[in-house]
């Protein structure tokens, strides 16, 4: 099959149309910072740097990228079988490695060693700050949502609510909100950590108990609504939360053991280690939960709720538990964020945050703890880089378009995520084969 066949040329036309649309929609004209009158001329014909090599119009860059994509697709398709098989054998090696216990342990120790010494190699405090705020906190959020979405299979579109509850609990108890602190007695930020986690868990139970009777799409809508309520509350109740302006500075955490004093100040490195300790703790906790009685009950509910009930599992109870457990790390993410950023305001807890966390979980691999951690690192690093360097005429407002495209590509080629959980990967394979009977009509089997 020649590359210039009719089908391939049709595909080229399609790809070029799509890239033209993308080129027009993105860039300066698509952003709020540029004057709206720039229109098509502002973005489409804008001269941008090509990977720092030379400058040329943006449309030409997109045109070139479109042709490259077309070439890749055209060359890939006739060889798809061979390439797929090659990829299989390529992925077989890491799979063989990770299936051995000692290899897994070694891998984890190496990873741990790398993250422990990482601050020594990051000299700019700006980047260190981003690592904590944009990666560390988001790993915590993704780990928490993974319990809800990945383990228990509940679509939660409002996870930012728990993040907000953690952060605002911190601000409230440390006396940084207009509302007076509990008992009019502000407490040190470090002490808030267990209280913030507990508060988020309590909210998880409070939200979960009435809503988790709903299934699927209905639950997603309700969780979305809950997050919007929290968002709206902190935005409008300025007498309590400080409204859109936000809190006054949350004091930096400090540790006072009598013989040993330590204060988290402006340097991000100590926050990095605090965050790291908790990420490790949460990974350990969630891993042991996954392999416990509770984790198996979650899988059972996720796979077939009716069958799970038939062996005595109370779905509501375990779903509420998943909500509460997931909220714990989300809540800690909020405490961490408040301690680090200092001034918190509603813009940190928008709907966008909930969606972004979900993206990390789906990208990394639902139900796979290491997958979502890696997914959070990859995506958050990429977005931090793009936001701060703005290469190739990239505009911050275009971020979600690129992330959307990335997710589409993921769903086509690696639907179970970057590092899929074995169980989840099997579920995806089952669903693809289509022999999975999951509908309720099974119950009324008498009907012909």
């Amino acid at each position: 099959m020649t590359i210039l066949s009719l089908a391939n040329l049709k595909r080229l036309a399609m790809i070029l149309i799509v890239t033209a649309v993308i080129a027009i929609m993105t860039g300066a004209a698509g952003s709020s910072s540029a004057p709206p009158t720039t229109g098509i001329h502002g973005s489409f014909f804008e001269r941008v740097s090509w990977f720092g090599l030379f400058t040329a119009p943006r449309w030409l860059l997109f045109f070139t990228l479109g042709v490259i994509v077309w070439l890749l697709v055209s060359l890939y398709r006739p060889r798809a079988q061979t390439i797929r098989r090659g990829a299989e054998s390529f992925f077989a090696l890491p799979r063989a490695v990770t299936s051995r216990r000692w290899a897994r342990v070694t891998l984890m120790l190496v990873a741990l060693a790398i993250v422990i010494v990482l601050p020594k190699f990051v000299h700019e405090s700006f980047w260190m700050y981003l690592i904590v705020e944009q990666i560390g906190v988001w790993i915590l959020l993704a780990l928490g949502l993974n319990v809800v979405v990945g383990f228990a299979g509940l679509l939660d579109l409002g996870f930012a609510a728990f993040y907000a509850i953690g952060a605002y609990t911190t601000a409230w108890l440390t006396g940084a909100l207009p509302a007076p602190a509990l008992f009019h007695h502000p407490i040190p930020t470090l002490w808030v950590i267990p209280i913030g986690i507990l508060a988020a868990m309590v909210f998880g139970v409070l939200l979960g108990t009435p809503t988790l009777r709903l299934r699927g799409d209905y639950l997603a809508i309700v969780t979305l609504g809950f997050a919007l309520i929290i968002d709206d509350f902190v935005e409008t109740q300025s007498g309590v939360t400080g409204g859109g302006v936000g809190s006054s500075p949350v004091p930096h955490p400090a540790l006072d053991l009598g013989f040993y004093h330590f204060k988290w100040g402006l340097s991000p490195t100590p926050y990095y280690y605090l965050c790291l300790v908790f990420i490790v703790v949460f990974i350990i906790v969630f891993t042991s939960l996954e392999h416990s009685r509770i984790g198996r009950a979650w899988v059972a509910i996720r796979e077939d709720e009716v069958a799970a009930e038939s062996v005595g599992i109370n779905p509501l109870k375990y779903k509420v538990m998943a909500f509460a457990v997931g909220a714990a790390s989300g809540g800690f993410g909020g405490v961490m964020s408040a301690g680090l950023v200092g001034i918190i305001n509603p813009s940190l807890f928008t709907y966008q945050v909930s969606v972004n966390v979900l993206v990390l979980v789906i990208f990394g691999g639902m139900g796979s703890i290491w997958g979502v951690a890696l997914g959070a690192i990859v995506i958050q690093t990429a977005t931090s880089y793009l936001d701060n360097y703005q290469p190739w005429g990239y505009q911050i407002n275009d971020l979600y378009m690129y992330i959307g495209a990335l997710l589409i590509v993921m769903m086509i080629f690696r639907p179970a995520g970057l590092l899929p959980s074995r169980r989840r990967a099997r579920e995806f394979a089952e669903a693809k084969r289509g022999d999975d009977v999951h509908t309720d009509e099974v119950l009324t089997g008498d009907q012909p």
Partner: protein, 271 residues
């Protein structure tokens, strides 16, 4: 017929009526099950057999009637109004017509989920793995191993459930249901889709469920040969009502049953 007072009932449904909008699925159905028997419910398609099962296990809530489960020790339990998981915990277990296994899990894990105690919260136990938790794990693991052997799936323990043959899936479903330590097990067409030799093995297995594990069996089955050889007593449902009750021989000779199955213009009945 023996005297009412001397019969040890285990499950008793009285005057059940189940409606879906205007459609009456069960009409004044009464079914009594004795402890330790193999009881079958038969009937043409759409007769309400699965509806009866779903009512007995809390999946459907009949509008009228009572269902009582008499556990070996403990007070009689009124099933209506209870949730499916509560009924399962009380000792009434079931399988499904189209098998509903946890397809992405191994055979071992499928049974293990059934064997575990799902009461209580156990968040701390799951995390700390104290002696109590470990003892529980040990007990459930042993039960799983025992049941794997009982249904003959020991060598398939580490296979993924979806890799099993049809007959093996049906046996796995029975093992999972038995793992909850039930007193009654409700089997919804356990032999559907199996080949003749698998059918024989299943019949043997069902008999052993009662004989060796002391679990009373309530069975829906379409294969007449299997039902007649297995069941000690049968109920026949048609259009949501019980039309006959009795031993296999009585049912086989009952003209009402023959009518229901073959239509009214039958000339002769074949076994």
């Amino acid at each position: 017929m023996s005297d009412e007072a001397t019969i040890d009932y285990i499950l008793r449904a009285e005057n059940l009526t189940l409606r879906f909008g205007g459609v009456v699925s069960l009409r004044d159905v009464s079914v009594e099950m004795r402890r330790g028997e193999i009881l079958a419910v038969i009937g043409p398609n759409g007769a309400g057999k699965t509806s009866l099962f779903n009512s007995l296990t809390g999946v459907y809530q009949p509008q009228e009637g009572t269902i009582t489960f008499m556990a070996r020790d403990g007070a009689p339990l009124s099933v209506i109004g209870k949730k499916a998981h509560q009924i399962a915990q009380a000792g009434v277990s079931r399988t499904f017509q189209a098998s509903r296994l946890f397809n992405a899990l191994s055979v071992f894990e499928n049974i293990k989920i059934g064997a575990e105690d799902h009461r209580g919260i156990g968040l701390v136990g799951a995390l700390v793995k104290g002696p109590g938790t470990r003892r529980g794990e040990h007990v459930s693991d042993n039960l799983v191993i025992e049941l794997l052997e009982f249904v003959g799936l020991t060598s398939e323990a580490n296979l993924i459930a979806s890799q099993l043959s049809y007959g093996a899936r049906r046996r796995l479903e029975i093992a999972r249901a038995l793992a909850t330590n039930p007193e009654v097990i409700l089997l919804d067409e356990p032999a559907a889709g199996t080949n003749p030799s698998e059918k024989l093995a299943l019949a043997e297995l069902i008999r052993r469920v009662r004989d060796e594990r002391g679990v009373s069996v309530l069975l829906i089955e379409h294969d007449m040969k299997l039902v007649m050889s297995l069941a000690e007593r049968l109920y026949v449902l048609n259009f949501g009502s019980v039309i006959a009750e009795g031993s296999p021989a009585e049912i086989r000779a009952n003209p009402v049953v023959i009518d229901a199955y073959l239509g009214s213009s039958h000339e002769e009945t074949s076994a």
